[in-house]
């Protein structure tokens, strides 16, 4: 382990953050939006939240996470655009291609943020600030998008710096700037501190990052647990965490999908079909990652937003749609029968699998049904091949295909699925 203090001073980290990313991409697609308040949302009915707001919309007090109903009330003249994640993912990947021309060590931190370790490469571009300036220019020229760049000796200071002159900003924070520029900032500005943590800290009389750094770690630990120790370690502006390049990204800890129903529903047949669809997506992703898991978690959000999450641990590691579905269904049936308060309309369902192990180490168990499972696995393999080649929508379970056409036949298929479930 290198000494964190001298190691950090030697590093040069660059943080790049797209300005109002989703909204900016939509403005590129439709120049008529430029200059107007634009809010990107999941869909235009009032069930979702704003995913991104451009700077004009932010003037009305709207930001990512504002419920759509409230956003419409605050800014009735605004334009609401139904977001298209594929557009943004593509722009994000292309942006990272540009970043990799400035350093081989690029960590895609989120869809609109990346960290670059430019310790070794900055000199080729005229130093850290000039590297930042050129990177901004390249992204602007190639995509017409503006980004804010922050440079620092570590991730915390780089990320803080990128916020200083947003939008279209370029700023640097060095170790020497810590007392004068970093410590006087409000705690809410610090990387890793959410609104709620900031609120709690302000109640304790801790308003600036410098004051936070002066709080003994035991006190923060007592109030915030593990997070407390983390924020205490970060407050002095020191941070030895490395930039993790794409290829080194650790395997996922869990794989999950959730779905907000178009309308709240209490129809068990329908809800189970949604569960099957979710289980299939999760199974597919587990197989893509080459992992299996042994804990299945079901999340249910009811019409009134109360949310429960219940997990079931299995004796074996699984990645088959059917096993995931069976476990999720068992939790679902058990919870629904437990209490009348759970027999109310449901808004969202989520399925996730954790406790992951490598496909080789994870066993799928049960020699008893070997014949059944070997046929099943053959079918899944074929379906996965078809989806690899022709897309995710190319194949699915029969009972998930257009139910409205013939409800009678499909409910029989659904019943068939249930009986299979019982047989195993």
């Amino acid at each position: 382990m290198p000494d964190p203090n001298c190691w950090t001073t030697e590093r040069v980290v660059l943080h790049v953050d797209m300005d109002a990313f989703f909204a900016s991409v939509e403005e590129l697609c439709d120049p008529a939006l430029v200059g107007r308040p634009v809010m990107v949302c999941g869909n235009r009915d009032t069930r979702t939240v704003v995913a991104a707001a451009n700077y004009q919309a932010r003037k009305y007090g709207i930001s990512a996470g504002t419920p759509l109903g409230i956003a419409k009330a605050k800014c009735p003249g605004g334009t609401f655009v139904e977001g298209d994640p594929e557009k943004y993912v593509y722009a994000s990947l292309r942006m990272n291609d540009v970043c990799r021309q400035f350093s081989p060590v690029v960590e895609r931190y989120s869809i609109d943020e990346s960290f670059l370790d430019i310790t070794g490469t900055a000199k080729f571009f005229g130093g850290p600030l000039e590297t930042g300036r050129r990177l901004k220019q390249r992204i602007k020229n190639e995509f017409g998008l503006t980004v804010s760049v922050g440079i620092g000796p570590n991730k915390i200071l780089a990320k803080t710096a990128s916020k200083l002159e947003k939008p279209d900003g370029l700023a640097m924070l060095t170790e020497a700037d810590i007392p004068r520029r970093f410590h006087p900032m409000p705690v809410s500005e610090m990387f890793g501190i959410g609104d709620r943590t900031a609120e709690k800290l302000e109640k304790l009389g801790v308003e600036t990052i410098g004051e936070l750094a002066a709080v003994p770690p035991e006190v923060l630990g007592r109030i915030f647990g593990v997070v407390g120790r983390l924020i205490h370690a970060a407050a002095p502006g020191r941070d030895a965490s490395p930039i993790i390049a794409e290829a080194e990204t650790p395997p996922p800890k869990s794989v999950g999908n959730s779905y907000t129903l178009l309308r709240d529903s209490n129809d068990e047949d329908h809800l189970l079909r949604v569960l099957l669809g979710l289980a299939s997506k999760v199974g597919r992703r587990l197989r893509e990652h080459g992992t299996r898991g042994r804990t299945v978690t079901l999340t249910i959000r009811f019409y009134d937003f109360t949310t429960i999450a219940r997990a079931k641990s299995l004796p074996i590691h699984i990645d088959r749609d059917k096993q995931i579905y069976d476990a999720a269904r068992a939790i679902f049936i058990c919870q629904r029968s437990k209490s009348p308060k759970y027999q109310v309309p449901i808004r969202l369902l989520g399925v996730s699998v954790s406790g992951l192990a490598d496909q080789q180490t994870g066993s799928q168990g049960s020699l008893l049904d070997r014949n059944y499972w070997s046929k099943y696995d053959g079918m899944i393999r074929a379906a996965d091949h078809i989806r690899d080649r022709y897309g995710e929508r190319a194949t699915t379970w029969a009972c998930l295909v257009r139910r409205a056409e013939n409800p009678r036949i499909l409910s029989r298929k659904m019943a068939g699925l249930n009986s299979e479930t019982r047989r195993n």
Binding site: L28, E86, Y90
Partner: protein, 79 residues
Amino acid sequence: MSETIDVISVFRKKTIKPVRFRYAGKTHKITKILYTWVTREGSFPVHHFSVETKDGNRFEISLNSYTMNWAFDSAEPNV
């Protein structure tokens, strides 16, 4: 569902540039490609274009590289 359309396009130096397309009984001349992005249908790229036409309208069209079909995806989807 997207509708299949006829498009005149230029393939040059690994780039695709739609020039004009026929939709709803009318030929639309593309004056500006506003944004392009690529998605996948399985292992096949689908090239998407947000375009502006001579009469000032905006459309999204796409080329599926497997079927080699051009599709009309939307018109002024934000308005």
